[in-house]
Symmetry: C2
Subunit: 478 residues, 2 copies
């Protein structure tokens, strides 16, 4: 069922008001994890509470404990929860967003004050400001939808629950505990979930995102001498930890990107026909990635292979070495202890544990082959499981129809190469089908300078979120 | 001819005076290359001028241009030159020392004020202080020799020229130009040279040092993407510069220390019987190196192999990587451009150029094998030739005899694994046999906190320098 035409018209007629709502939100510099902005994060929570209350939502601010910023113990930003509607005949939709933002300083290279929403003076429609797309734009989108229905006197087609956190940019501390503790209370009865906190793959094609790669981050520590040594005095006499580490690190991944840890490849879930079809339909060219990367350096010249390399296959990246010389210039040091850092992006069925078992054994075996007198340790520093949702679930089918209505084109079905840990928390703890429904474009620069959202994405995004509710209400749930 | 017994007695009788001379020198914090100490370096030059003048030496302070410290252009510390004696029947000896010191702050971990000469209160005879062994101790040693002869009314057995610089700890800037410009003036007629600016191999055995390894320092730069990338978004799609760099770096040296660059091994000058014998005589055990290193991690369990590994064979050390992640913690970055840093210690006949030709070709060939779309550049950042002197030259034979007289034992014949660039400048520009005649012990901690010289080394060192002059005067020059 397409959205009520009055709703669509209201959105079109109130673009300026909606942009003003986003302007107010951006002006509150709700940078989480920074003592200087603790009050602003609280103000932003309060802003949400007031807006939601005025829009007829039953709202609560929930404390979720405290954390340390530097040496100071401060309360974590509250979780703002709200609900509107409890008709047992309607679908129960849960939406998530976050009201905190990444740090931003004008002197980082912003063209404008990052905490003033600034329309591009060249008339491109871009709205610059920290949080404009990550994630205040989408959150205000939901508020816009509520405003339209309230002002038009329309009932929402679904029962809506909302959860907005203020620590997403700092690891969503304690949110998992909150979800678990509220599973049979606030979250009871939720049917499906929608998160708008990622982006289109390109700048033109709306998409639905049904998977995320996980990540296992490892360190390989090699230590020998008790202290750093001078290579003139000791070079040629001892086993150098850097030599051992570089030898082991060179055995992890081939220059063509193949993970060399035995057993990894065999774990990867086979590609289904449906998946293959979805990948082949994605609007994408090698020029897109070359443009983003700024160089012609793709591993493959085939688009589907490249997309699968990003979204559904594991990858291994060597990030760096701690303890070695890293500054410009020359230093003739033999580092005493070095830590190589690498990570593996996980996909079904590469889990934290089975992958780690293979990695640890392989690294130890390869080190043993070197015959070095140094000592090696290899360990996981943190892990995040991969996630995949059923993209044929009615939650996705509803979003698909809404996308066609708003944008006049079918969405791409994408998966993110990176992780969005809250997705897994909601999906696993609550046992929900989670839809990732992006509002912004691939070039929004979420964590960068000059973060922006295009006006058309913000306004069409508002329509999309509303239309999705209507389709969700009407769709065949089988 | 052994030293005049009056000289030996004078030294024994005036230990306290000599320690006081060193105390005065250490109290002038002549840290070169630091704006805060420019005046102190000048004061130290003036101290030398006054002392030398009072000891009957014809002294000059020579300006050698200016340099920048930060943004400030300041005069380089002057070279202090002095000469005493011009008897055409005598050997013309040139000695070198430096009057500047490494930085030192009490809070770096010194037990005492680094600029107060402090005798060990436990009575070990150690004299702590910055510059005590590097290089004010040896320089004061020469002054002590002069004082003894002046006070005793004895003529020096050689014509002595002295050159003391104030920039050794900062690259001896412009000293090479000064040597070249004075080759046919101040340095005219010099027969042999002695530098006391290195150390015994251990804490018990005096040594003569007849060789230094050179060094070629290289960078391998690999660049691909135009900017650092997120491994979640781009891992598995592009050629990662770190993967390429680690692969190439792993091909440079084996875990057993063997340089894998083809052609290097073949260039190494064969070991002569005389060399072999000298190495076998060195007082050294694996425990010495394990103690210095703080771990049992030697490449070989054989002492001669280990000593040759340090002194007469090339070695390749991987120092680190610039541009990659190096801090504690985790960062999921794909670095856009990385520079691997390594150096090769050079020995006869591995020169700067022939070694670089082999290295550059090999690295380029190995990179080509990877089939990467990234770009690699490999280049020498600085080079220093190896140096070796004839240890059977009369200059060495004289020092050998003097050592036996003062210490009652034959010296070890050692070579330094590191470089002392001024040695090459004097040897090559002036065409001299240069003797490296250490005064201090291997555990003096020249550039460390709690730098010290043992009283016995300072006093016996004074005797050694004097006795060396006497032997030099008498020895068969053939």
């Amino acid at each position: 069922m397409a959205a009520n035409p009055q709703f669509i018209k209201y959105v079109d007629d109130h673009q300026a008001d909606f942009i003003d709502r986003l302007r107010q939100a951006v002006e509150i510099p709700s940078v989480s994890g920074n003592l200087d902005y603790v009050k602003d994060v609280e103000d932003m929570a309060e802003f949400l509470v007031k807006q939601l209350t005025s829009l007829g939502v039953k709202v609560e601010k929930r404390p979720i404990g405290s954390h340390k910023i530097g040496e100071t113990e401060v309360a974590l930003p509250p979780v703002v929860i709200g609900e509107i509607g409890n008709d047992p005949k309607k679908v129960n939709l849960l939406v998530y967003g976050h009201y905190d933002v990444q740090p931003a300083l004008k002197e980082d290279g912003w063209d404008y004050d990052p905490f003033k929403l600034t329309p591009d003076p060249n008339g491109s429609g871009r709205l610059y400001g920290r949080g404009s797309t990550d994630d205040k734009g989408p959150v205000m989108g939901w508020l816009n939808v509520l405003e339209a229905h309230q002002k038009l006197g329309l009932e929402l087609p679904v029962n809506l629950k909302m959860v907005f956190e203020g620590m997403e940019e700092n690891g969503s501390e304690n949110l998992d505990k909150f979800i678990a503790s509220e599973k049979d209370k606030f979250f009871k009865g939720v049917d499906v979930m929608c998160i708008s906190d990622n982006y289109w793959l390109d700048t033109k094609t709306p998409c639905l995102t049904y998977g995320l790669r996980g990540i296992n981050y490892y360190e390989i520590k090699v230590q020998g001498p008790a202290r750093d040594l001078h290579s003139g005095v000791f070079g040629g006499t001892i086993h150098e930890p850097m030599t051992d580490l570089i030898a082991v690190m060179s055995k992890l991944v081939s220059p063509s990107g193949e993970i060399l840890v035995p057993g990894i490849k065999e774990l990867i879930a086979p590609v289904t026909a449906d998946e293959q079809a979805k990948f082949e339909k994605i609007h994408f060219s090698l020029q897109d990635i070359e443009g983003a990367v700024g160089a012609q350096t793709t591993l493959s010249n085939d688009t589907v292979t490249t997309l699968m390399g990003r979204m559904r296959n594991p990858s291994l990246s060597l990030h760096g070495i701690e303890g070695a010389f890293y500054a410009p210039g020359s230093k003739t040091v033999i580092p005493a202890a070095v830590k190589g850092k690498f990570s593996i992006r996980l996909v079904p069925n590469l889990g934290i544990k089975n992958t780690t078992d293979l990695v640890v054994k392989y690294v130890q075996d390869e080190f043993a082959k070197l015959g070095s007198k140094n000592k090696l340790d290899v360990y996981l520093t943190h892990g995040g499981e991969p996630w995949i949702a059923d993209p044929n679930h009615y939650n996705y089918r509803a979003a698909h129809k809404a996308t066609v209505e708003v944008y006049g084109q079918e969405p791409d079905y994408t998966r993110e190469g990176g992780s969005i840990p809250v997705t897994l928390d909601f999906a696993n703890i609550l046992g929900l089908n989670v839809l990732l429904l992006p509002v912004g474009r691939g070039d929004d620069g979420a964590h960068s300078t000059n973060e922006k959202i295009d006006t058309s994405n913000y306004i069409n995004g508002t329509k999309l979120l509303g239309s999705y509710m209507y389709e969700l209400a009407a769709i065949d749930k089988q």
